[in-house]
Symmetry: C2
Subunit: 245 residues, 2 copies
């Protein structure tokens, strides 16, 4: 095997890319280290030069996910025109938007993300994302409490609930994929839509707001996400986004 030397950062990112693809398609446990290094075209030694273990690779992958997600919401946080409620809604809107885009651009990724064998991977990503987002949410809620918009005695607790709600859709979506038939999908869409309404009202009331203040997604947005697959069946977009890195 010829020796190929690349810029370390590039090599590292490449490794993460291949690991991501393999972990998503086969699951963290089933995708072996040999698979990863074979895909990346490097040796065991080279791999262990960059990562201390397979576990560390997963860790780094989760961190990268969280970093990317965090980068997407920086502008919302910096916008001085927004009041706490507006900021919270903007944050929720951003994450909703990210979901729609992911679904449209890379349905396969979106779908594999919710398969049971990806539990470990999914949990790690969520963990990293939570750690990153929690302080932001707490700060927003605290500001809202200070200026009287929100009423609660436990901003950290409310922030946790917000994130819980965000992740809880996972189970419902997973069920939608588990079914498979169009009828199952239809039921799942309606269930999820109803659930989103419930979460909105729950958050309104937990924060002491009038019903209808919190907007997680406009009516029909769930259907937009779930049917994005049919609307955009061509894999070209996904391929393009892959090439462009």
């Amino acid at each position: 095997m010829p020796r190929i030397i690349k810029h370390p950062e590039l090599r590292r990112e490449e490794l993460l890319d291949h690991a991501q693809a393999l972990f998503l398609t086969h699951g963290y446990d089933k995708a072996s280290l040999n698979d990863v290094i074979a895909a990346a075209g490097i040796s065991k030694g080279a791999f262990y030069h960059y990562f201390a273990s397979k576990e560390a690779l997963l860790e780094a992958l989760a961190e990268r996910f969280a970093r990317q997600a965090l980068a997407g919401v920086q502008d919302v946080l910096g916008d001085p025109a927004l009041d706490p409620l507006g900021r919270l809604n903007a944050l929720l809107a951003k994450s909703r938007q990210a979901k729609v885009e992911t679904a449209a651009e890379a349905w396969a990724l979106f779908e594999t993300m919710f398969r049971p064998e990806n539990l470990v991977l999914f949990h790690r990503i969520n963990q990293a994302a939570s750690a990153a987002f929690s302080p932001l949410l707490v700060e927003i809620i605290r500001q809202g409490v200070e200026d009287g918009t929100f009423r609660t005695f436990d901003p950290e607790g409310v922030a946790d609930i917000v994130m819980q709600f965000g992740m809880a859709t996972h189970g419902v979506i997973a069920k939608a994929f588990a079914g498979g038939s169009d009828a199952d999908m239809e039921i799942a869409i309606e269930t999820l839509e109803k659930r989103v309404r419930l979460y909105e009202i729950a958050l309104d009331r937990i924060l002491g707001l009038p019903d209808g203040s919190i907007r997680i997604g406009e009516p029909g947005y769930v259907r937009a996400v779930m049917t994005a697959r049919r609307a955009n069946p061509s894999p070209s977009a996904a391929a393009a986004s892959r090439k462009s890195r």
Copy 2:
């Protein structure tokens, strides 16, 4: 090695017992099949006579947990004297009681349950418990909606939220153990106590009840759970409960 033949059900239960002990102390991934069969004193072949895989063993373990948990709340469901709110509170009280008892009798088990390496095990148990409890909760809430006690358009969603809240304490408790120092523990107790209050009010409002209707735990109950270790340091109770099977 002499060949010992036991009643199949007994052998199966024994295997589950040893697996439970090893999975809890070392984690599902780190506890090897060889460890399990060595502890149980049987051969590989015997193991695979009872379980199709290590995964199936985990599955069976989770099922057993769920079955035991379910058995503990049957009387509450059958009590015709309770109205929906009373039934819901009784159910929450039962699960609280179970937690306190577990903490007092087998603190070690309680503690290991919340270690990060037990994520997979924990998740499976929760999954099984959720599957078992969800229908019960849905039924209670549906009854409450019918007789006008509760007001919600999504009983399934509310049931999910109730269970989410129940599991969410996991993260907070895990943090308490992660710290270790008495000061950390004190902070964790206060955080958890506050969180329980938040969950109570959140459920009140989600269900359209007056604040204070839902009772997850009386004030001080969290401290009772968390300090049970010190109050009952002797391992005799745990040993007794082990023997009695």
